[in-house]
């Protein structure tokens, strides 16, 4: 196999790895169908439903957190919601205790306070499908539904960061030049809903929402 062949094969395998695996329930239904040599339409639909139902939590982080889930139930948006300022996700290349040295390339972050140098691996989101504040177990969450293309990049970004060592496995979330949070990524976020947690109260979460979408 040539270098080109290997590059293409690797990229295709990477893409295949983005898929959320079908749950064992679906596999079991499929195997049962093979055993019986008879698979009803109802069973096939049930198997597919189980696949959809598998799109659930795989990532949590400490402190101000970044996680994902099947997301709050929301109607499919008809058009993109343009952000007031770009939302930038940037890898953390280095971190130290504040204050930041003058003339250093580091920037001050909060939640928790830190002096960060940002890495070049980043992505910028200028529009989303929807955003809302919601409560879960008393926690105020800012939930953002990414567009499909952004979601795919975010999955790749978080998957790659999760493989790296501290502090390069942290992801700074920057809104309007302010680092909102820099959680550690411990797994790929593969769904389109991304949830930011750790706000002190609902007002703080809603302020973050307004800073995003006005």
């Amino acid at each position: 196999m040539s270098d080109t062949d290997e590059l293409i094969a690797d990229a295709l395998h990477d893409l295949a790895a983005h898929a959320v695996a079908a749950p064992s329930a679906a596999d079991a239904l499929w195997r049962a169908g093979q055993r019986r040599r008879r698979l009803s339409v109802l069973a096939a639909s049930a198997a597919a439903g189980a696949i959809v139902g598998a799109l659930v939590v795989a990532l949590t982080v400490g402190g101000l957190g970044l996680g994902h889930s099947g997301g709050p139930a929301a109607p499919a948006p008809a058009s993109p919601v343009w952000l007031r300022a770009p939302l930038v996700f940037a890898q953390v290349a280095a971190a130290s205790k504040p204050p930041c040295a003058v003339h250093s390339a580091k920037v001050l972050a909060s939640n928790p306070p830190a002096c960060l140098r940002l890495g070049g691996f980043r992505m910028t989101v200028t529009s989303i499908e929807s955003a809302r504040v919601r409560q879960l177990h008393g926690e105020n969450l800012l939930a953002i539904r990414l567009a499909p293309a952004d979601s795919r990049h975010f999955a790749t970004l978080t998957r790659e960061l999760a493989r790296m060592h501290s502090p390069r496995n942290a992801l700074a979330m920057i809104i309007g030049g302010h680092i909102l949070a820099h959680p550690v990524v411990i797994g790929a976020v593969t769904t389109r809903w991304v949830e930011f947690t750790g706000f002190q109260n609902r007002a703080a979460a809603e302020f973050a929402l307004r800073s995003l979408v006005g």
Binding site: A19, G33, A43, A44, R122, R192
Partner: protein, 153 residues
């Protein structure tokens, strides 16, 4: 490879992949008596053909989804990551038939004759589609240094 992973590579979207797989399973279920000896191969074939036909129709009336390429990296491992992302984007931007040919050749590792049989075309078409796909990738990503590749039986 799991069927859902194959569906994802063909569609580039988790939800579309689930739809594609669900439709293929429903169609397979309707013909279970005929296909029960090799159901998975049948489902795969449905997925390839449905995706090609669906995208062919859709391409005429929708805007092309231009995925955002992450901004240039600072260096070290980030450079490799970005290059891989760019190649993945380029693969997803390929026309559906060309992408399907590459998936069958490089991901499923099937010979040209079998690729042609699955896609319902000639071996010559498989060769030309594969050659054009690699050429398109090379054009989109000159920095990756993709070289011309020979497609072997």
């Amino acid at each position: 490879m799991q069927l859902i992973r194959l569906a994802y590579v063909l569609t580039g979207d988790q939800h579309a992949a689930e739809d594609l797989l669900q439709n293929a399973l429903v169609k397979a279920a309707a013909h279970w008596g005929r296909i029960h000896t090799a159901p998975e191969a049948y489902v795969r074939r449905i997925m390839y053909r449905e995706q090609i036909n669906w995208l062919r129709l859709r391409a005429r009336r929708r805007e092309t989804a231009m995925a955002q390429v992450p901004e240039p990296p600072a260096g070290d491992e980030a450079a490799g990551v970005t290059a891989r992302l760019a190649l993945q984007d380029a693969l997803l931007a390929l026309p559906p038939r060309r992408r399907a040919v590459l998936v069958l050749r490089y991901l499923e590792d099937l010979p040209e004759s079998q690729v042609a049989e699955i896609l319902g075309c000639s071996v010559g078409t498989v060769r030309s589609q594969s050659h054009r796909a690699v050429a398109q990738l090379r054009l989109a990503l000159p920095s990756l240094g993709l070289t011309s590749t020979e497609v072997h039986q």
